[in-house]
Amino acid sequence: MGDIGREIRELFDEVVEPVDIRGIVALHRRRRWRGWQIAFAAGVVALLVVGGVLLLGALDSAPIAGPSDTTLPEDLPYLGLDLDGWAVTLAGEGAGGCGALDEVGPARQMSYEPIAPIDEGPIHINVGVFSAATICDELPMPDDAADLGPPADPPFVNDHGFIEVMGHRARVFDEQGTFQVRWLIGTAGAGHIHIFGNNLTAEDAEAIAESVVEIDYVQWQSILALFPEGGTTTTIASHDSVDGSGDLPNGPLSSAVLEAVDQIPELAALTVELAADHASLGDEPGEWGGVSLLAEDGSRIEIITQMVSENFDPLLVIGPDTQETGPHGEDIFLRESDAVFQVVVIDQDGTMINLIIDRSDPSQPGTPGALSQIGLDEAREWALLLLDLITD
């Protein structure tokens, strides 16, 4: 390539004039901190510190909900509960999805617990933002459970056409005969709410569930906003396979991902646990497919590809975190938390790569796992490279 390399250099040298560095220095003023600016900034910082101390002092005198509690959000009317006497805790991240195959994506959860035991016994409600790429039967259904099925009438389809109900609710008795209710509310990929309560009366559970389904688009966004690191994941599930059989067909999309994975040594070294194509749910009709790669400690990398339209809303698959532009105009969306890195890249033709990397050890949540050494920059680069390889 020597001659061609030289010609490329000549092309660049001749076509692209160097930037006029002296011109930059002459035309633009360098910003420097002057003495009065430093003093002003120091004053502002001091005011903030004093204000913060005073505020903390005031909060100290307020009722404390619990040792690990955050402030009870005031904008949670959708729970339909009288939350006086309740604590809300950001419960961290747990497995998302449904069923063994799907418990691959961490999901943010909030936990509501009574501060003191109440008459009906302890009630525990989790509200999590999980993947709603699929809605499936989350619990093994005992024989005596009553499956209430999806709501007869979708209780909310908003004007944006964004949320649609793919709800499922079930009454379930656990092994001890304790009544639980689980209510899954699916949205078009942005996540679903999952509520369960222990020792709830059927009436209480139904009341909670009924109130939850009344949320609208704005409230849904407010729920997402409560999860500052983003709360959505996408999972690979077997329930909506293309042929409807529930099998895991390795179709063209997942095959393309597999071929691309083989080109990246770090990914090729992992075990392919699952490769499947699926029918897409939500407002992006079509198919999606991908692979789940397994590290030695069981943590996973998921890589999913899908063609999306120009109007595709990335909120369907990733929280509203960081957005960048790739080297060829790709839209890049990044999510970073202690438990997961997620990179979504969409090129100009609408091909999407959704890369999700577990960072914690699945057997010891909260502790770094085998994939924790992967940096976000590396994940971003892999996603771009995978897209390049798939579309090549």
Partner: protein
């Protein structure tokens, strides 16, 4: 060395890489403009930029962000109407355009500007293995486009 002299020395060292990498990815006009904008930023914020571990890489990423546009736009070219150079391999420009932007950056910096793969990885903020993959695939594509087959 005062601030201005230090900046000029730094800018002269980093400018070719910025310009070439950005033009390779975004075409002549947008790439050069992005390189210029990044260096203007560096001068305005020189106190901070000069203290960074990898100021060249930082400016590159800054410039990339400045080129942000909506997707579904037409691809950028290496040529403009006013700049055509018949003395180079006539298919060279179109052959380069057949590469992905990242492949183009890596091929140009390594094959034409004799950077090491490690230097390119550091500058672009990507992994060594990614550089290797981009280089191999970029060269293969370039050879195919130019019908230049390496018989060695």
């Amino acid at each position: 060395m005062d601030g201005e002299a230090a900046f000029v020395e730094f800018a002269r060292a980093v400018e070719p890489a910025l310009r070439v990498a950005l033009v390779a990815a975004h075409g002549v006009d947008r790439g050069r403009e992005a390189a210029n904008d990044a260096l203007v930023y560096a001068w305005k914020h020189w106190d901070r930029v000069q203290g960074l571990d990898n100021p060249a890489g930082y400016l590159y990423r800054l410039a990339e962000r400045s080129t942000r546009q909506r997707r579904f736009r037409p691809p950028a070219g290496l040529e403009t109407q006013d700049h055509r150079h018949p003395w180079v391999e006539p298919r060279l420009s179109s052959a380069l355009l057949a590469l992905s932007p990242r492949q183009r950056q890596v091929v140009v910096l390594i094959e034409s500007f004799e950077w090491t793969q490690a230097e390119v990885a550091d500058f672009l903020g990507i992994g060594l293995s990614s550089v290797q993959t981009h280089l191999e695939r970029g060269l293969a594509r370039l050879r195919h486009e130019l019908r230049v087959w390496d018989h060695g």
